[in-house]
C-alpha cells in the first residue's frame, strides 16, 4: 500500500503523470510518501502537520519566467511530536526520497489539534462537577501550569447535542497536558456560577420548524449562468478576465494565492507573488482571572486550514460552482481529505472566488477589478462566560442572553502580502492626506486651501512598522519605482487600505502583547527573507515577539467587537 503510494509519487516526479505545479499543495500520495520515508528512519511518531515547503522565491521566479527549465523539487515540511511532547521539524525531499532536515525544537509547542477531543473528554465531566459543586476542589491536582504543552479548556454544556453551547458556558477551566494527555488541574473561580437555565438556542432546521418554521414573506431571487462561468481552472490556476492566480492551501493559513498576474493587452504583468491570511490574534479584555489567559492565535494555534469545514454538502453560493479539496495528515500519519474545502464561483458583484467557513466564519474574496480583499464576518462566535442573575459585567462584557457574558475582544487579522508589482523590486510608501505648508495669507498658501497626499518612503524595517492614522486617512502604496505610469509619471502601485484599526488594546508587557509581535501594528514591512517567510508551517513560541512565527509582511485590519 505504502509502496504503491511511493510509486505514484515517483511517477509524478519521473513525469509519467502530469507533475504538480510547484505551488500545488502536497497530494495525499505525497503526504503518505513523506510519512513512509520518515517511518523507515524514525519509526512511529505523532504527526502534527505535513505541508508543502514552498520553493525558494528566487528559484520559483526563475521557473515562472521559463517553465521549460527543471521545476523546483517537491519537499514536504513535516512537524511531528516525539514522545514527551518534543517538537521536531523536518524536511523530506520527495524526489530523492530522503529526510534532508530533522531538527528538534526548544521552547515551542506545536499547533493544537486537540480542541474537539478535549471538549469530548471534558464535557462528560461537566454535569457531575457542577452537581458536586465545591467538593470539586477535591479532584484538583496541585501541579503548576508551566510546561509547554498546556491547554486550557473553556467549558460549555449542551442540553441537547444540537443546541448552541455558547448559551451554556461553564464557570471552571480544566487544564490539560497535551503531552501527558491528562487533566492536571481544574481552575475554579471563587464566585461559582451555576449552569444556565435559559431557553436553549437551536438553529437546526427541525428546531426552527418546531418554532413555527422559516419566514414565508420573501420571494425567491434566482441567479443563473446559462452559458456557464467566465473563468477557466487548469489544475489550481484560475484564469478570469485577464487575471491569473494559483490557489494554494495549507493547514495553517488555509487558502494561499500565488503568482497573481494580469494580462495587459498581451503582456503578462506580475502583481503579487503571494497573498495569505498569516494570523488572527484575538485578545480578550476582561482583567478578571482566569480570563486574562484568553487570547487566541487562530491560525498559529489551531490552523485556518485545519478549521476549514467541508463544503461537500454544497455552499451558499449561487450559480455555477467549482470546488477544490484539501489534503492533510492525521496524528497516525495517514493522509486525510476535506472535500470541497474551497469553493470558486462568480458573482454579479464580480467576485472571482470565495472560500468560507473558517471557525470564525471568515470569508476570503478576490474581486475581478484587481484588488485582493480579506473580508471578515464576525458572527458572534466568541468565547462566552457564565454570569449570575443580576451580576454586573463591569463593562468588560455584554449580557447577550440571560446568564451569558460575551467578553470584549478584538480580532486582529494579519494579512501577509508579498507584492511583485511588475517584478520583485518593490518599494513601500506611507500616504497621508496632509494640509499644505503656510498659514492663510502666506505666499505658498495664500488662501489656506492647499492639501496633498504626502508620500513617505519606508527605508528601514523600524520606520516601516507603523499604525493607522485616522486624521490623515493613512494608506500604504506598494510601488515599482522603476516603472512609471505613462500619464501620471508616478510609479505603478497597489494601495493597501487598512483602516478602523484601534491597535492591540492590551498593554505593553502582557503576554499577548509580546506574542502578537508585529500584529500590534497596522503595518509592518520586512525585507524579503526567503527562509523566514515560507513555509507556512510554524509553531507557537511561549512568549516571543513574533506572532506564531508566520511573520506577516503586512498586518492588516482589526475590528473591535465590544
Amino acid at each position: 500500500m505504502a509502496l504503491d503510494r511511493l510509486k505514484s509519487v515517483a511517477q509524478h516526479v519521473t513525469g509519467t503523470l502530469p507533475p504538480p505545479h510547484p505551488f500545488d499543495p502536497l497530494s495525499n500520495a505525497e503526504i503518505e510518501a513523506a510519512v513512509q520515508i520518515i517511518r523507515q528512519q524514525y519509526g512511529q511518531l505523532h504527526y502534527n502537520a505535513i505541508t508543502l515547503k514552498e520553493p525558494l522565491k528566487k528559484e520559483m521566479l526563475r521557473w515562472l519566467e521559463n517553465p521549460s527549465i527543471p521545476r523546483p523539487v517537491r519537499i514536504a515540511d513535516v512537524v511531528v511530536v516525539a514522545p514527551g511532547g518534543k517538537v521536531i521539524e523536518g524536511w523530506v525531499d520527495l524526489k530523492a526520497g530522503k529526510v534532508t532536515k530533522w531538527l528538534s525544537l526548544e521552547g515551542v509547542q506545536p499547533l493544537n489539534r486537540l480542541p474537539w477531543r478535549i471538549y469530548r473528554l471534558l464535557s462528560m465531566f461537566a454535569g457531575k462537577i457542577q452537581r458536586s459543586s465545591n467538593n470539586v476542589r477535591l479532584v484538583v491536582f496541585q501541579q503548576k501550569i508551566c510546561t509547554k504543552s498546556i491547554v486550557i479548556a473553556l467549558m460549555y454544556y449542551r442540553p441537547h447535542m444540537d443546541d448552541s453551547q455558547y448559551s451554556f458556558p461553564l464557570d471552571f477551566c480544566p487544564i490539560f497536558d497535551a503531552a501527558k494527555q491528562e487533566i492536571i488541574h481544574i481552575d475554579i473561580p471563587e464566585i461559582r456560577r451555576p449552569v444556565n437555565k435559559a431557553k436553549p438556542n437551536n438553529y437546526h432546521v427541525d428546531a426552527i420548524e418546531k418554532e413555527g418554521g422559516y419566514r414565508t414573506d420573501i420571494k425567491p431571487i434566482n441567479i443563473t449562468q446559462p452559458e456557464g462561468v467566465s473563468f477557466k481552472v487548469e489544475g489550481r490556476v484560475i484564469d478570469w478576465q485577464n487575471w491569473k492566480v494559483h490557489v494554494g492551501f495549507n493547514y495553517k493559513e488555509g487558502i494561499v494565492l500565488n503568482n497573481i498576474t494580469y494580462n495587459d493587452k498581451g503582456t503578462e504583468r506580475p502583481i503579487f507573488y503571494r497573498l495569505s491570511l498569516a494570523e488572527m490574534v484575538v485578545p480578550y479584555g476582561n482583567p478578571e482571572h482566569p480570563h486574562q489567559r484568553k487570547h487566541a492565535f487562530d491560525l498559529g494555534e489551531y490552523g485556518g486550514g485545519y478549521m476549514t469545514n467541508s463544503l461537500s454538502l454544497g455552499c451558499d453560493c449561487k450559480g455555477a460552482i467549482h470546488y477544490m479539496d484539501a489534503a492533510f495528515v492525521n496524528k497516525a500519519g495517514d493522509s486525510t481529505t476535506i472535500k470541497n474545502a474551497i469553493c470558486i464561483h462568480e458573482e454579479d458583484a464580480g467576485i472571482l472566488f470565495k472560500h468560507t467557513d473558517f471557525r470564525d466564519d471568515s470569508v476570503v474574496v478576490t474581486r475581478g477589478h484587481g484588488t485582493v480583499q480579506l473580508e471578515i464576518k464576525l458572527t458572534g462566535i466568541l468565547n462566552t462566560y457564565a454570569m449570575n442573575p443580576g451580576e454586573d459585567t463591569k463593562g468588560w462584557g455584554t449580557e447577550v442572553y440571560p446568564g451569558v457574558n460575551a467578553h470584549n475582544h478584538q480580532h486582529l487579522f494579519c494579512l501577509r502580502i508579498d507584492p511583485n508589482i511588475d517584478g520583485p523590486n518593490n518599494t513601500v510608501f506611507q500616504v497621508d492626506a496632509t494640509q499644505g505648508a503656510g498659514e492663510v495669507g502666506s505666499k505658498e498658501n495664500p488662501f489656506g486651501n492647499a492639501f496633498y497626499a504626502k508620500r513617505t518612503k519606508y527605508s528601514t524595517v523600524k520606520e516601516a512598522t507603523s499604525d493607522y492614522n485616522g486624521a490623515t486617512s493613512r494608506t500604504w502604496d506598494m510601488c515599482n519605482t522603476n516603472k512609471l505610469n505613462p500619464h501620471s509619471h508616478k510609479p505603478v502601485s497597489y494601495k493597501l487600505v487598512s483602516r478602523e484599526v484601534p491597535g492591540l488594546l492590551p498593554k505593553e508587557g502582557f503576554l499577548v502583547w509580546k506574542r502578537a509581535g508585529f500584529a500590534r501594528h497596522a503595518v509592518h514591512v520586512t525585507k524579503y527573507d526567503d527562509e523566514q517567510l515560507y513555509p507556512a508551517g510554524r509553531h507557537v513560541p511561549q512568549t516571543s515577539g513574533e506572532p506564531s512565527r508566520g511573520i506577516p509582511e503586512w498586518i492588516a485590519d482589526a475590528i473591535l467587537s465590544a
Copy 2:
C-alpha cells in the same frame, strides 16, 4: 387651465380624491396651484424652487400616532428671484389658497440652476477665445467680483459632442452675473495652456464599437424574480420584511426617507423620523489662483434633486423594478417632471431600494437588516484643469491623462439623521475602544489586558461637535435611554459608523472653512428645532458658519480622492 389645477388641488384637500400622505412631495398640480396663487398677488417672477414645507415634527408625530385626526395642511415652500436678483422666500397654504409668508432675504443667493445654460452660453466662445490667444485680454471687463449672484464658469471644450469634456479643460474662467445675465469678466492666467491635443475619450456605444467593441469573454449572470418582489408599495410607502419607510424627494436633498419603522412581532417600532443627504462639500486643494475658488456645495448650490437624471430609459438594476417620478417648477413657474427619478428594487444582498444618478453618481441604499447607509461611488467626475507638456503639478494634482491635471479634492458628505428610536426622546453617546485603567501589575488591571467600549454622553451642542478618532475606532450610538434591551439591559440603540474621515483639509479662516460650518466635523448633534431643520429648501449664504443652511444633524463620511 390654472383654475383646473386649483380645482384638482381643492379636490385633494376636500377628499374627493385620495389625499396625499403629509410627507408626499408636492404634485405637479400642487406646484402649479402655488404658482397661480403667487401670480395673482405678485405677478410674474423667476421661480427658483417650490417644494413641500414639511409639517412640524410634533404635528406629524401626532398624526402618525392617530391618522384619523385631520392631516397636517399642505404648504408649498417657495423660492423666487425678483428682478435685480433679490431672493424671496414664501409659504403658500394650499388649503386656504393664500400666501402665508413672503420674506425678502438679504445676504443670500438662491441655489444655482444655470450651470448648463452658462455652459452653452460660453462654450461657443471657447474656440474663438483660444484662437485669439493673448488678445483675449482686450475683452476683459474691469468690473470687480463682489455682487451676490456671481457664477464662475469652469470651461471645457468638446472636439465632438459625445466626447468627455474632462479631457479638454480650458485655462480661463468667465465670470457670469446671474442677475444681469451677462459675462462681467474673464479670468485669464499668466501662464496660458493651449487646448489639449490628446486623443478624445468617448464612451458612447458606437465609439466603443469603432474601437473594437465590448469585451466578449464574460458570460451572462442572470437574476430573475419569478414570483415578483417581496416588497409592497402603497403611495410612496414601501413595506418590506417588517420594515416600512416613506420615500420623499425634494429638489435640494434628492431622496428623503421618512418614518422608518420596524414591525417587531406585531409592535410597530419607530426608528428614524427622517434621513437625507443634506449637503456635499467639495473643497479643492490647489492654492494657485483661481483654483482656491473651487469649492462646491453640490446640494446647496446645485441641488441633489435638480441634478437627478431620469431613469426613464431604465437603470442598471436587475430583477423587478418599481419607479417613482419627481415634480419640480421651472423658471417660468410651470411644473416639470423627471420620469423615474427613483428606482426601487430588491437585491440578493438584501437591498431594499436604490436611488442612483446624482451628478456625482452617488447611490443611496437601504438594507433589509435595519441600518440605513449612504454609499457614494466617486467615478472620477471632478474638476480638471489644463496643463502644459512637462508641467509640474507640484503635488496639488495628478496628470490623469496627457495635459489633464486632476486637482486634489475632498468629498465631505453631510448626512442628516433624525433618529426616532422607540420615540423622539433620544440621546447620543460617543463610543471609543479604550484600554482599562491601571498599568500591568495594578490591582484593577493586573495583566494589562483590560479594554472596554467607553461611552460618553453628549449633553451640549458644543461637546457634541466631534471628529472621528481612528485610534479608538470611534462610533456614535443613538439611544433611547428609557427603553432597555431585555438581555443586555442597555438602551436600545442604533450606531453611526462614520470613519475614514480626514476632516476638512483647508485651514481655518478660508472661505470654504467658514461656509462648510458643521461639515468640518465628523459629527454634529443639534437639539431638535423644528423651524430650523425643515423644510429642506434653503439658500447659500456668502460666508456663514452653516453649510447652505441645510443644517445637518449629523455630518457623516468623507473621502479624500487625491
